[in-house]
C-alpha cells in the first residue's frame, strides 16, 4: 500500500486569483481558433482549446481550472463557432469536460466518489447511447456486435479500472505531485489519458445522435480516435511539465490543488 498523498502547506493555502482565472480563460478561448484534428465524422474540428482546458486544473487547482475552462469555452464559442457546432452544449462538452475529467483523476484521492460516479455513468452511457437507447425508436440501426462493444470498452473500461483501484486512488495523485521528474511525467500522463478517455464518450455521442450516425460511421469514429486520444495525452504531458517547473521556479504564489 502506498503512502497517502502529501500536499505542502503552500499548496493547501490559496485558491487561484480571479485575475489568473480570467487571463487563463482568455488564453484557452483564443486557442479555439487553432484546429488540431478534424471530426472523423465531419461537422467541425477539435481545437487546441481542449489541451488547455485539460491543463487548467493542474495549474490553477480544481475550482480555478474549471472556472477558467468555463470562461475559455464561452469565449471560444464566440471566437470560433466552427469549433463549437452545438453552441452552448459544446462549451460544456469541448470546453469544460476535459478540465473536469482531468481534475477528477489528478485529485482522485479527494474526489473519489465523484470520480467513481463519473467513470461508471460514462461506461453505461457510452454503451447504450444512441444505438440502444433511444435506438430504433429514433431511427438508429443496431451496431455490429461484438465489435462495437469491444471498441467502446477501449474508451470507458481503462478509466473504470484506474479510478476504482489503488492506482487511481493513491498512486496517480501521488505520482503527479512527486519531486522525481519521471514519476511526475508518468502520473500526469496517466491522469490526462484517463481524463481524456472519460471526456471522449460524452463529447462524441451527442454528435452521433444529432448527425444520425450510421453504425459503420460510429465504428470508424471509434477506430479513428483510438490512437489519437493517447497521442494527445502524450503531447499535453510534454507541454505541461516544463510549464509546471517554470511556475515552480517563478516565485509566483502557489495555488491549492495546483501541481507546482
Amino acid at each position: 500500500m502506498s503512502e497517502p498523498v502529501v500536499r505542502t502547506v503552500a499548496q493547501e493555502a490559496r485558491r487561484a486569483p480571479v485575475a489568473w482565472i480570467t487571463l487563463f480563460g482568455a488564453l484557452t478561448g483564443v486557442m479555439a481558433l487553432v484546429p488540431i484534428f478534424p471530426y472523423v465524422g465531419g461537422g467541425g474540428y477539435v481545437p487546441l482549446l481542449v489541451p488547455f482546458s485539460a491543463i487548467a486544473p493542474l495549474l490553477l487547482g480544481t475550482a480555478g481550472g474549471i472556472g477558467a475552462a468555463v470562461i475559455g469555452g464561452f469565449i471560444g464559442m464566440f471566437l470560433a463557432p466552427a469549433a463549437f457546432p452545438l453552441g452552448v452544449v459544446d462549451v460544456l462538452l469541448t470546453g469544460v469536460l476535459p478540465a473536469v475529467c482531468v481534475a477528477l483523476f489528478v485529485n482522485n484521492d479527494r474526489y473519489f466518489a465523484w470520480a467513481a460516479a463519473a467513470v461508471l455513468a460514462n461506461g453505461v452511457f457510452s454503451f447504450l447511447f444512441p444505438f440502444y437507447v433511444p435506438g430504433q425508436a429514433a431511427g438508429f440501426a443496431a451496431p455490429p456486435e461484438p465489435l462495437y462493444s469491444v471498441l467502446g470498452a477501449y474508451y470507458w473500461l481503462p478509466p473504470v479500472i484506474v479510478a476504482l483501484s489503488p492506482i487511481g486512488r493513491r498512486l496517480v495523485p501521488g505520482w503527479s505531485r512527486a519531486a522525481d521528474r519521471k514519476v511526475k511525467y508518468a502520473g500526469i500522463y496517466v491522469a490526462i489519458l484517463m481524463g481524456l478517455f472519460v471526456w471522449w464518450n460524452p463529447w462524441s455521442r451527442p454528435y452521433w445522435y444529432i448527425l444520425k450516425y450510421a453504425p459503420g460511421l460510429a465504428v470508424t469514429t471509434l477506430i479513428g480516435y483510438s490512437w489519437w486520444v493517447p497521442a494527445l495525452a502524450a503531447v499535453i504531458t510534454v507541454i505541461t511539465l516544463p510549464i509546471l517547473e517554470a511556475l515552480n521556479r517563478s516565485g509566483l504564489p502557489k495555488v491549492s490543488e495546483g501541481l507546482w
Binding site: P17, V18, A19, W20, I21, T22, L23, F24, G25, A26, L27, G29, V30, L33, G41, G42, G43, G44, L59, G67, I71, G72, F74, I75, M77, F78, L79, P81, A82, P85, L86, G87, V88, V89, A138, G139, A141, P143, P144, Y209, I210, L211, K212, A214, P215, G216, L217, V219, A231, V235, V238, I239, P242, I243, A246, L247, S250, L252, P253
Partner: protein
Amino acid sequence: MQSAFQYVERATFMHRLHPVVKIVHLFATLALVLLPYRPTLRDLASAAIWVALGACLWALGRVGVRQFGFLIKFLTAIFVFLIVTQGLLYQSEGPVLIHIGHLEFWGSDLGTVTVEGLFFGAVLSVRIIAAAMALPLLVTTTSASQLMATLRTLRLPPRLTFMFVSSLSFTHLVIQMWQNILEAQKLRGFDIEAMSVWQRARRAYVPVLTPLILLLFRKGNDLQVALESKGFGSTGPKTEIEVLPFLPRDAAAAAVVLAVFALTLWVKF
C-alpha cells in the same frame, strides 16, 4: 480572423436593440439546433425559416459577410463533406442517384449514393448555417459594457460576469503576446512554421507556451492587485455605469423572434 468576432460600433437597429433580445435569439437557435432532424421537406423548411430570420437580422445590423470569409470557407468544406458522407452512409431504401457498385458496410451500401442521404446532408448543412449565424450577430452588435450590464440584469453572479467579459477583452492581449513570443523565438532561429507536424507536436509549443503562461500569470498578479485596490469582491450594493432600459420596441422584437421560433416548430412538427 482576430477582428471578425469583435464589436463594431454602428448606429443600426440591431445595435440599439436590447441585448436580451439577441440572447433570446441565441438560445432559440440553440434549441432548434438540438432538435432531431430527418430528411424531410418540413425539416428543411423549418431550418430555412430560421436562416431567413438570421439573414434579416444580419442585414438590420449591417454585419459584414466579408469579415466572416474564413468561417464561410470552413463551413463550405464541412457542408461538402456532410453531403457526401450522408449520401454514401445514410441507410435509405429510397431512390438511388449514383450506383458505383456494392460495398456493404454495416447496413450501408457504400457503392450507392442515395437521394435521401444527399437531402439529409443538405438539411444538416442548413441547420449548421442557422446555428453559425446567431453568435456573430450578438458579438458584433453588442459592446462589452452592454453585455456586462445585461448579464448583471439577468442575475448572473457579478464575479462570473466580470471574469467572462474581461476575458473577452483580454483575448487581444493574449494574441498579441503569443505573436510577440513567436517573433522573438523566430529571431533566435526557432521557426515553428518551418517545422513538420511531428516536430511541432514534439518541440514547437513548449518554448512558446511556457513564457506565455508565465507572462500571463505575472500580468495577472498586477491585475489582481489593481482589482483588490478598487474593492473588487466587496459585499454590498453595486452601482451600474450603463443602464439599459427595455423599451417597447425591444419587446416587439422579442415577440417577433419568438413568433418565428414558434412558426419553425409548427412547420417541423
